[in-house]
């Protein structure tokens, strides 16, 4: 197999990786395999995949630059959109299933609970990125503005990770969020070092 075809196959696999968790979740729903607290399970599951795919999105350009894997670049957008898809599911599950679309409950929850507030903020920061992800918007905004706007992925991801951290910290269960925060810090550190070297 030539390397072009291998690259194409790998890209296809990464593309499918975005859909796989959703398909698995739908399957588990149909098989009644969501455990004793299905609402909590779909919330945790969608949130988990939003975070993982956000970190995948941020890993693409370091991988491309360190290992000269230019052909990986298109997957960044897919991962970004995948992350946003699961974040939207997460939000909708929260609003509809957990809060039963009760506006009073939701307002109280967002204002009273720090981690819910952070999660809402993360979603609002990521929303414009998903809306401007197509070529038409890129052209309309111009590459410079578009790129500046898309820097929002950093605070967006950071808030999403804090949202997860403060949720888990309530029960002293911070191992998993700290691992993700560690990965995020590495990805940011790599970018900062690269900038410093360039100067």
């Amino acid at each position: 197999m030539n390397s072009k075809r291998l690259q194409k196959a790998l890209r296809g696999a990464l593309y499918i990786l975005n859909f796989a968790p959703g398909i698995v979740l739908a399957g588990r729903f149909l098989l009644h395999d969501l455990g004793p607290n299905p609402i909590e399970e779909v919330l945790l599951y969608s949130g988990f995949w939003a975070l993982v795919l956000l970190l995948c999105t941020l890993s693409i350009s370091p991988l491309v630059k360190i290992f000269a894997l230019g052909w990986l670049m298109p997957t960044r957008k897919w991962f970004g959109l995948g992350a946003f898809f699961y974040a939207t599911c997460h939000l909708l599950f929260y609003l509809a299933l957990d809060q039963e679309l009760n506006l009073d409950w939701i307002v109280e929850d967002v204002l009273d609970r720090w981690f819910i507030f952070l999660g809402s903020g993360a979603f609002l920061l990521l929303l414009p990125l998903a809306l401007t992800s197509n070529k038409m918007m890129l052209r309309r905004l111009g590459a410079k503005t578009w790129q500046k706007l898309h820097l929002l992925i950093y605070p967006g991801t950071f808030l999403a990770l804090l949202h997860f951290y403060f949720k888990k910290a309530a029960k002293n269960d911070d191992q998993e969020p700290l691992i993700y925060l560690g990965i995020f810090v590495l990805l940011i550190a790599w970018r900062l070092l690269r900038k410093l070297k360039r100067k």
Binding site: P36, N37, R113, A170, N172, D173, Q175
Partner: protein, 320 residues
């Protein structure tokens, strides 16, 4: 995400079907009580309670079967696969996966502190099977979910009285086993092991306070706190300490594990109270496991008639 097919809680699938038998028996008892024809059978439980040596005054007229009469009992599978038992991991499914390593025989309980009859006792002599009675209690977790559980066991007060607590015994402290080889969660310092819980002596002597050794008509599965755990249904679930190895009578308020971990979020009393929110969870509502819509959470988890007196004159927002 993981899909678990294996279960290791020492109960085979064939035993699980006992849930139907258990439910059928419960239905029979309810029906016979209604018809009034089988008074003897239906009063089995109250007879047990009344035949206890010197029961406290407040036992009279307390029908433990009726306490949760309006509630639908949670499925056995949910009760035994959705647990918070950090000694086996922080995931809800960890205890059911890993608790099979815990050896519950032999099991002794060390009683110490302000009492006349301290000592180390075998759990089988402290709470022999023939003394077990059933209590159907609601369990409300601080995380905002709840269950209805048919426990088997013995009331706490008569047991504590056997150790003859002195006038200095203002509190009772309980401790969970510390054995990292059998409790893999203890290898991580999530909490300051061993797990410690406590009650004020009058709370401990309340007729609702219960020591469970079984549920759904059988011996307690390890993940639910075998062989012996506390059940205090008007408090958040974490007060109901599992796999107890030490009981001591203390003059000072014990520093319990969650208070030590986060004193702003967890209090010693931790009574179920919809008016006092937790930083992470609204306590106004709860999701009953097995149901879709949330319930309103009741003050003292609905047991106010039995326990509200204990807190007369106390500011429960301050002593949360």
């Amino acid at each position: 995400m993981h899909v678990h097919r294996r279960t290791h809680f020492g109960i085979s699938e064939s035993q699980v079907t006992e849930e139907h038998i258990w439910r059928a028996r419960r239905l029979f008892l309810q029906k016979s009580a209604l018809s009034g024809a089988a008074l003897l059978g239906s009063s089995l439980l109250s007879r047990h309670v009344l035949s206890k040596p010197s029961p406290p005054e407040s036992y009279a007229g307390l029908d433990f079967k009726k306490l949760a009469a309006k509630d639908k009992v949670t499925e056995f599978k949910a009760i035994t696969t959705y647990n918070n038992f950090y000694e086996f991991g922080t995931g809800k499914d960890d205890p059911a996966k890993y608790a099979h390593t815990l050896k519950t025989t032999p099991w002794t309980i060390e009683v110490s502190g302000a009492c006349h009859k301290p000592g180390t006792f075998d759990v089988r002599t402290l709470a022999p099977k023939k003394q077990w009675e059933e209590r159907i209690y609601r369990l409300r977790c601080v995380e905002g979910w709840s269950m209805v559980i048919p426990w088997l066991g013995i009331p706490l007060a008569p047991l504590l009285k056997r150790f003859e607590p002195t006038g200095n015994a203002k509190f009772v402290q309980f401790e969970t086993l510390y054995r990292p080889n059998e409790m893999p969660g203890q290898k991580r310092a999530v909490l300051d092991w061993p797990y410690v819980e406590g009650l004020r002596i009058d709370e401990a002597m309340n007729p609702l306070s219960f020591l469970a050794l079984g549920l759904y008509g059988k011996t307690l599965p390890n993940q639910n706190g075998a062989p012996l755990r506390l059940v205090v249904p008007w408090k958040y679930g974490f007060k109901s300490i599992k796999s107890i190895v030490r009981i001591s009578f203390a003059e000072k308020m014990p520093i319990t594990s969650w208070v030590k971990a986060s004193p702003k979020e967890y209090g010693f009393y931790s009574n179920v109270n919809p008016q006092v929110p937790h930083r992470r969870w609204s306590q106004k509502r709860e999701r009953r496991i097995g149901e879709f819509r949330k319930h309103e959470t009741l003050m003292f988890n609905g047991y106010g008639d039995y326990v509200a007196d204990l807190y007369q004159g106390m500011d429960l927002k301050k002593y949360f």
